[in-house]
């Protein structure tokens, strides 16, 4: 069994799978991620599968489990970089990856994590956004100044 490394990237955890996944490795990854989400207070997990040649029903199901598990731990999971041949095969196999967010690459995956967590934080801190308004107003004045006659 090989262990897939989990990297910290700001508020997110980044997992880049570069090995042929056996079942034990997938299960170990799930446990590692649960631990790391809690210990690093991560808000998101981006799983890069651009190096993965096949996703069968077991591996696909684990992506679903990881997504559900991270949601319970207040983090969002995005699976990125799926190869076209893998996508075609998954659909024909009948696996829809329900509940798993996907994006084309790591950059877009991180953007999704950021957007989702920001939207949630805004909802939570609705009464606490006065300082943001003040800052925005000041910036607007500076920009508008040169156009005044």
């Amino acid at each position: 069994m090989e262990r897939v490394p989990v990297l910290s990237l700001g508020d997110a955890l980044l997992v880049s799978i570069q090995v042929d996944l056996d079942d034990e490795t997938v299960l170990a990854l799930q446990e590692d991620l649960a631990d790391r989400i809690v210990s690093s207070s991560a808000r998101g997990v981006v799983i890069d599968i651009s190096g993965v040649e096949i996703v069968d029903s077991f591996i696909g199901r684990m992506f679903g489990s990881i997504a559900a598990l991270s949601r319970v731990l207040d983090a969002e999971t995005v699976v990125v970089g799926m190869r076209p041949a893998v996508a075609i095969t998954l659909v024909e196999l009948g696996l829809s990856l329900h509940g798993v967010r996907t994006a084309l690459n790591v950059e877009r995956g991180l953007a999704i994590v950021r957007k989702l967590t920001t939207a949630r934080d805004t909802r939570v801190a609705e009464d606490d956004d006065e300082s943001i308004d003040d800052f925005g107003g000041e910036g607007g004045d500076v920009v508008a100044a040169p156009s005044r006659p």
Partner: protein, 136 residues
């Protein structure tokens, strides 16, 4: 040492063996010059069937061979186990039906991914699943 033309057999008795089956099938699929999508479909089907052999059959083996017919190349993989067999084959082939806690896509899904699919099972004797994928 084996040449690409000779059939090759692998035992399936652990999760690592499932990975080895995928690698063997992929190398044969590449040698047969299957398209990348067809390679991926065949390897994915092989992965599902190897896991079935392991989980439902307890353990088993796969025989992988390169084929040639009417100028087309192909790859055949025969998975066999001496496990309990499948009591209700029609039910086992239904999308979403599972006896092993999985998604129930192993047999039905694999069948969709290959060109030829044959299953021979008998309760108490075991199960043999044969799949073939041809170049287009």
């Amino acid at each position: 040492m084996t040449t690409a033309e000779q059939p090759e057999e692998l035992a399936i008795s652990s999760g690592d063996d499932v990975v080895r089956v995928r690698q063997l099938v992929r190398s044969r699929a590449q040698a047969a010059k299957l398209s990348l999508v067809d390679q991926t479909k065949l390897v994915t089907a092989a992965s599902e069937l190897a896991r079935n052999t392991l989980i439902h059959g307890g353990s088993g083996r796969v025989l992988v061979e390169s084929l040639s017919r009417n100028g087309r190349a192909g790859v055949r993989a025969v998975f066999s186990d001496d496990g309990p067999g499948i009591p209700d084959l029609q039910l086992a082939m239904t999308d979403g039906w599972t006896s092993g806690g999985g998604l129930g896509l192993g047999l039905s899904g694999s069948k969709r991914l290959v060109d030829e699919f044959d299953i021979d099972t008998e309760v108490g004797r075991g199960t043999t699943v044969t799949v073939v994928k041809w170049t287009r």
